[in-house]
Symmetry: C3
Subunit: 680 residues, 3 copies
């Protein structure tokens, strides 16, 4: 893979984070100490200006960027580069006071009062106008500053708005989508049911909480529209900045599996993907391992959005956060592990929210590098400084990427459709968990799968896991057929291909649109189990592992697939539960019921082996590989509480500088980065 | 009993259900296949037009019934009759767009947006006008169609509206009720408390969530008004239809123990009672038996509304439903049991929602006879077709009825009053459960009690069970006295006769209005137990069965009743807990605390025996009897998982055609219908 | 201590309660029977007119006090005095109909409908005007009635309003507070965060649910404003009454630890403190002892508001209440214990809500002395009459007070600030419980501590317990320093001194504002534990008591304090957990983590002993002392279920009249009041 360095100026990994000096302008002593301590911590980047609108433009039309220029200059003089944010994530009070249309309207049609953040209407022409002005000013002032690395568009886009301007844009969006033919919409939304037919696009309203929310197609289009509109707003900001200087890259900070926006759509407008990672470490509801695996899943999702290019860990908390149900401090060493996990998964940055805790308002206790105590002799500061040192040792990793023959399909439309689907059991649908669990099981086998949409290029992968692929986008069925026919292996499960892109049920047997051909089965019934219900699998190959069935079990008619396992009990005892069919040059696996991902390990190993994908004995150590043209970088993270021995590890361990000759001993909490020349 | 056949044209039991061909008009192949498969399944009825307004009247004033006529004709040609629905349950978009007053206003005073269904204002003059037009058109078009059996008014009436027109009607309703004398209302509602006195009826508002909801009388009248207003709306529809042709019977589909409407009032306007039965079979929170018993209770409630006449099972799901927390598929055989339970309880129909699953919208996964697969070789279809066959064998049952010497009083006002009563423990009031449990215990003894209101004719019963009869309607106390004095036996419990019809506490001792005379006791205190509290009963007759007291225990003063049991512990240990007093020619039993219904079995057996009501050994088999002038039909349903042997069963078993000579062996899941000539 | 008798006319303890004869004006027989039964029960007071507005002024401007005069006269003739309430707690319907501004607006900005009670806007000029008129009329009519003892202002003040008038007053309040300088507010509220800067006071809105609620300073000021505004409303009423006759004392009835109002502010405007006590006796979630202790804490809080003066138990339920989740009847004897607990803690009254149960509306089942049965031969009546008898025997107690060398700091601002603080674990913050538990542990040692604010005079106490004193009011840090320097002992815990009065974090180390100097430690991190986390303490003195750490643990840097205990495990094992530093003439204890209060018993005993405060062996008997110039009255309450033996008890037991010579034997449920001459 071609090395693809995001920020050549940095000569290595970015180490930095959000910095809000505007809160301390009356304390020059503190600002001076910040620079001094940043250098001590190996900081080479600061993200400035997030939410600084009221400091940029204290009154409408009166601008003041002098304070920011001073800060950026001073940082730059000290070797610290800037990522500069547009301030659209929060509005000054004067703006809402004068232009109430900038404030969102909720799902009951009630306009919010001024307050908090992330609550602006994306459609408001007035707000777009004000944002454009401040963004252009900012670009004109700073686009050519030598310290500027990148634009950070707004902050953590999210939410939705039901105001009149949004309703109007929604109608136009629908009219375009359905080619100005209301009957096309009526058909797609099955509106004859419950007398829901529309006579014109102007009759359509968003799915208000106290309005029309029983039309699946409408609900789904509203979510798609929200993504489209949010992206349009973001594009508006990007356009303004790029108009001043097109070569400064742009990003916006995504959030962990954020529900309300289809990141697979939004990512197209960004130069680089970045996200904010706040795993709930040390919690009481899951094994510690799972917290890391879930985080790795997110990293892989972000990474896969821009193939062949590193991503950025835009925010993370060095100590604790302040919004979890239990805000436990991070245990010693956890910080290092989390930072290197990001790198291992393909990030070229380690960034924090934030550098220094503010004195007031709702995030005053959100973890930061520097505490209210104000000194650098704290545990947290020392851990950050240690990471700063270590990052210098792995500078060479920058620009390398993850390259993998396996992918898992994860799809926002499917997610929304499954959740909105009225059936099964609302409390156990668990699309996300199912995807994460399967992906994690692969990672435990040493396979760091990409996470892709139905629209991605599938042809580069040897195996594709497509759990619960309930909704088929236009073209997906054909694509899957072709993929398998050409030698690909696909692993699908219960709930595959029930509906089309409008959530209309496919007729003629599930999985629909001809996929029952590919899998050689038809799913006749979907049984939903109570948590207390019991069933199990009997494997045809004689394996006696107890495989508990839970939540869902489809009753299959097998046409021409091989049955790998059958149900153990209930009225469908003996019926097929797991099947495989050779189709063209490839294989199509169907797992008709839900079991623990770990109970699929043997099957996964077999599938990967058939596909020629190597698995690896890892003894609980997390493992990733990044590659460049000439080198591979193997990452090992031991987040177990015991020492682990790994074999077949060769190359130079970069943190210790030691050469490895096959054996790697890892203390609890240890991290290793093993560099190897390709061909070695 | 006189045989009373609902639909002589059918020559037997109706087998049919909701059919929505308007969703498939672009698929004539499917419509054709429907007819073919209906015949295969023994279908002789289709319910058409529920929610078809936007197809009847696609634009205001433009009507199109041609599609419906074609369908009805085609069905009729194939021996399938039609029940035709008025479409008022859901409004076309154009109607709400133009007449926003048709949409409901919620309990905060906020008008809903257009959407979903069952959300129209019952008071809206404009809506009534539009409904009248469409209903009249429908009647004019189809009242004389030879296939038409019945009108189905709207759909599952429910909900309430707080709009200005409703408020206005509510005030008029109150003024009429209190004879235009506000002081009568002030007295009835005890408004001197908290300064709640009204000066005029125009000051009264509904119990808004953010308004006046602490006046019990107001809360109760609002519920009564909602019933009255909904009934008035329904009458308006009935009147329109009957004006065209008076002899077509009308029904509307009731729902299981629906809370918001007093069906005992609404039923008066209907020719036939029908209801939609969706028991949660195979759940994880109750014994399977209880699911059937609860369903039987509902059947009995519906049956008792029109004595001497069969009712209709208007909707049921052959497979699964889609709105329960866990939508499990029905196990094989369950369908047959459920269908015959309806018959056993007095229904002359077995109908489904629906014939064919639609492709989209919120009920796309609601069970139907025909699945998205579209074929007749599914398990569900086969089970439906089997029922179709069996129904033909019991054609003779049609028109026979249930006739029973025992009744249980179940009353909507009491239900509402108990729930609204501020005291006891909100979480354990359980009026419904208490009634269902007692009724079920009787059924297990072979006694299929009627379920009646305080206003019904009580004189025909030998025993009346009146659990938790908290609210006494005008006249009830006198009626009860007279009933017992004349030889009736009444069984009452804690919480009897606390309030009058306005929820004013009766003075002078509970049970009030002189009932303490009848029972010979006064309830001095009502103790509410925490779930962890323990108490028990000691039976005077020496029975050593452990009887756990839970939730509620009244502390009694016994005047002239016989004490049957006393409390075991706590400061009222030794105090009377169960009493009986002979009053006139009858007996008045008082059970002052809550115990499991099964712990009252011995007492019930004794009471029934005193009354000369026969009980029966049933070994877990559910048992009902229908009678006609000349015959009895005994129904036996074995929903246990074991074979059961019953003795003393004589007659002809209709499903097998075999003669029985005393012994009936029932396989698990088996159904038997034993016909006997009266006098045999 | 100087004897301070509240109502000399009574010659002893007040025994009475709410009486609502206006509900029974059409039943003169009942009113007559009331008098008769009151005398039987030893009643000498009746609280009249609470919520009687619609009877005082049935139509706007038409007044009728004749019925009240008759009642007051009749009561007075029978030796029963009156406390007369202003009726502002609930409005007549005509008032809301005409002046909608009197109704509150909720936190979403929506105005309530007319209804319930306690829902008037405190800012409404029109409502204040109407209240002034009715209050003045009332005063003019009854201020000189010989039976009048006191004014009862409104009822249970509470709630808040977000209407325009309130918003306007809030802005003025803020402008005054911040000296009309918006930059002072911006700094105090840290508004640079999230662009929250204000340009003028007119931009500020209350913390609407759908508005600005992330600015801690704003949230806190809104709560302070609500207290200020409610107090201002109350003062308006007081002023009206006192203008007619200044010497009639005023009170209002407080509620148990009411959250929404800072009683430490409101109490300043009252002549006497009174409160409504409704403990949840016999519940299933705590030991019976704890129910009494929690109630005693409330008594002590109320008592401490007016040092050197008795308080009043304004409302209590003789039987049960009707609003708890489980409304269990009070067990025999519990009533006597509860009444004497009030006396023991410093009350000079025992009053009930209410005398007679009304027939209707939401409190028809709230316990009262006389039930719907209407007679005096009930258990409840007998218990009340018994208390009436006993109170006569302790008449001499009236006017004596509690005098104690120990205090606990309990502070509304701290309470609000901790709850609003975004961090830790919302579900385990438990400021109240922590204070109550520590106070209770002291009471179990025989130490009846006062409960004071940060503003009280601290100098009179030997030991001050200040748990979780998160927020430091201006001056508190200095006061604490001085208090300790002068020889006081202070006991503080984790979470001390994090923020200043505006909720800005103190810089330079917690506890801030120099308190880390006093305690000799800095809290570097605050760890939040999941309920499943485990840690413990190791005591330096070798004590091997197992001390479980839960919820919170601070990681300390010890500067110059003595370490008394360290953590047992986790990464901060061995770190200081409990410290003590001598500072000046006093000692400053710091308990850095949360443990059960009982686990601090040994430490408390040691601290009290160091301070020369006597503790007492009590064997589970609750103990309080009241003093007058010449006498002490020791109260002993045995609410255990066993007989208890106490030694060192001397004097005359007033209830039995017996002299005690060192030994007191108490039956379960027994009460003893031992009078001793001072010096005896």
């Amino acid at each position: 893979m071609k090395r693809n360095t995001l920020f050549p100026k940095l000569n290595g990994i970015m180490h930095g984070g959000d910095y809000n000096p505007e809160q301390w302008l009356d304390r020059p002593d503190i600002l001076e100490k910040d620079i001094e301590m940043m250098k001590k911590a190996g900081i080479n980047e600061a993200t400035l200006g997030v939410f600084a609108w009221s400091m940029y433009e204290p009154e409408e039309g009166k601008f003041d960027f002098s304070w920011l220029r001073k800060i950026m200059d001073r940082l730059y003089e000290n070797g610290i580069y800037t990522i500069l944010a547009t301030p659209s994530g929060a509005r000054p009070a004067w703006l809402d006071e004068k232009y109430s249309e900038a404030m969102r309207v909720d799902a009951y049609g009630v306009r919010n009062h001024h307050g908090v953040r992330h609550n602006h209407c994306m459609s408001s022409t007035k707000y777009r106008e004000k944002v454009e002005i401040i963004d252009r000013k900012l670009a004109e002032e700073f686009a050519n500053h030598p310290g500027l690395l990148m634009w950070h568009i707004s902050n953590e886009f999210g939410g939705e708005c039901y105001c009149d301007q949004c309703v109007c844009r929604f109608r136009k969006y629908l009219a375009n989508k359905f080619e100005h033919d209301i009957e096309k919409l009526n058909k797609a939304w099955w509106t004859t049911f419950w007398s829901h037919r529309f006579n014109s696009f102007d009759q359509i309203e968003p799915p208000y909480e106290n309005g029309e929310n029983s039309v699946m197609g409408l609900n789904l289009e509203w979510k798609r529209f929200t993504t489209w509109n949010m992206t349009d707003f973001m594009k508006h900001e990007i356009h303004t900045l790029k108009a001043v200087r097109p070569d400064i890259p742009v990003t916006t900070n995504f959030m962990t599996l954020y529900y309300g926006l289809d990141y697979h759509e939004m990512c197209k407008e960004l130069d680089v993907i970045s996200w904010d990672s706040y795993p709930v470490f040390h919690n009481d509801y899951e094994a510690p391992e799972y917290t890391y695996l879930y985080n790795a899943f997110n990293h892989a999702l972000m990474r896969s959005m821009k193939p062949g290019q590193p991503f950025m860990l835009m925010e993370s908390a060095p100590g604790l956060v302040n919004w979890q149900p239990f805000n436990k401090v991070r245990r010693p060493g956890n910080h290092k592990l989390a930072c290197f996990q990001a790198l291992a998964c393909g990030s070229d940055t380690v960034q924090y929210f934030q550098w220094r805790k503010g004195r007031g308002s709702s995030e005053q206790y959100h973890g930061a590098v520097v505490d209210h105590l104000g000194t650098d002799d704290t545990r947290i500061f020392r851990e950050v400084a240690e990471v700063g040192e270590l990052l210098k040792k792995v500078s060479d990793v920058a620009g390398s990427v993850v390259d993998t023959p396996v992918a898992l399909v994860y799809d926002w439309d499917t997610r929304w459709a499954i959740d909105d689907m009225r059936g099964m059991a609302q409390s156990t649908k668990n699309y996300d968990k199912t995807c994460v669990d399967i992906w994690s099981e692969l990672l435990k086998l040493g396979v760091d799968a990409d996470i892709i949409s139905q629209q991605h290029d599938w042809s580069k992968y040897k195996v594709i896991f497509a759990p619960m692929m309930y909704l088929l986008q236009d073209g997906t069925a054909e694509k899957l057929k072709e993929y398998v026919a050409n030698g690909g292996i696909v692993f699908a499960t219960y709930l595959t291909g029930y509906v089309d892109k409008d959530q209309l049920c496919n007729l003629g047997g599930f999985p629909g649109q001809g996929l029952n051909e590919v899998f050689g089965i038809i799913s006749e019934e979907l049984d939903t189990l109570y948590p207390t219900d019991q069933n199990g699998l009997i494997w045809k190959n004689g394996a006696r592992i107890r495989t508990e069935v839970k939540d869902y079990a489809e009753i299959l008619r097998v046409k021409d697939a091989t049955v790998l396992a059958t149900y153990e009990s209930d009225f469908y005892a003996g019926g097929a539960a797991v099947t495989c069919k050779q189709y063209g040059k490839g294989y199509a696996y169907y797992f008709a019921c839900r079991v623990e991902a770990s109970d699929m390990r043997a099957l996964f190993t077999q599938i990967l082996s058939e596909a020629g994908v190597k698995t690896k004995e890892l003894a609980g150590v997390e493992y990733h590989v990044r590659v460049a043209e000439d080198k591979t970088y193997e990452f090992y993270l031991n987040y177990t509480t015991e020492e682990q021995y790994l074999t077949n590890v060769n190359g130079t361990e970069l943190l210790s500088g030691q050469g490895l000759d096959g054996e790697l001993v890892m203390a609890p909490g240890a991290v290793a980065v093993v560099e190897k020349q390709i061909g070695e």
